[in-house]
Symmetry: C2
Subunit: 205 residues, 2 copies
Amino acid sequence: MKIGILISGRGSNMVAIAEAVRDGAIPDSDVAVVVSDKSKAPGLEKARELGIETVVVTRKKRSREEHDAEIVSELKKHGVELVCLAGYMRLLSAGFVRAFPNRILNIHPSLLPSFKGLHAHEQAIQYGVKISGCTVHFVDEHLDHGAIILQKAVEVRDGDDADSLSKRIIVHEHAAYVEAVRRIAAGEIVIKGRRVNTKAITHDD
Amino acid sequence: MKIGILISGRGSNMVAIAEAVRDGAIPDSDVAVVVSDKSKAPGLEKARELGIETVVVTRKKRSREEHDAEIVSELKKHGVELVCLAGYMRLLSAGFVRAFPNRILNIHPSLLPSFKGLHAHEQAIQYGVKISGCTVHFVDEHLDHGAIILQKAVEVRDGDDADSLSKRIIVHEHAAYVEAVRRIAAGEIVIKGRRVNTKAITHDD
């Protein structure tokens, strides 16, 4: 399976996926391209160190649709079959979502539907939850909204601030994102509306 | 510590708390009264079997404030210091909340702030979360909103419906509610805004 990864920053989840592909934890797959909307995203250098082709597609003064069309074109040119957002800081247009139906993933550092959007760790700390975590989900046109593939719960401790909580959650993000991509690459999941289940293994499979 | 418990139905969390008090898991405490707003709540009979005094205070055609004032009066008459809602199906008025500042608890069968209100299990199933759970929290005038004391995460499985999920969560509700009441009875918690922390134990305590 050819994977394309979108980043805007350091892309630590991109690195986790790329290393899992390299090490065979995500089998029969290849990270075909890493696309950044920021020319100075630190993740670009890391991708090159991992031997992955990188492309920068900045928004400039274009509409979201025009920007997304160029990104989709780059992904298609590289034969991408699965798109992983890894700290990509933009909402996708309807056109982008339609170009990869049920084939765009995102990870969010909370147990959705709690604490959508920016500063999820800070939101969790402010609310005073005792359990937060991370969510790997399919991407639709709404913010942090698509069907959920996998969640991991992470304890919030008394002395936590957004920084210490984010450091505890990110470890689980890497593991969760790799596991979700592996399941999709292995064809193990079935989607029914908002529910994403594990395919029953039969002798015919 | 004298505990008063409010129910509207079968009150399984009421039974869990009452048994924990009886067995010493919640030490130095006493369930002084169980109040129901429904004369036919099945929990009333269970409370009597446990040797607990019961009072029925129906709403009749009164305002919420008048109804609550009578309940508060019953609780005060029984010397209640901590109020536990256990399947009590009404929002409390501001007057009720003010009568027991930081001394009213509720349990909700989700990881708040997700899935507030009625049919929390069904909401979780419909949304397609992979992790749900339960939350013990202080009660304020807003629905399922006050500061969180304790949460327990519970896995949602592929074949789950609201019924099977509720049966898996209720076990954790009983344990979580008992543990939260124990902590409060033992004076182990400190409240800072929305954050409820464990008091640091020092030699002066």
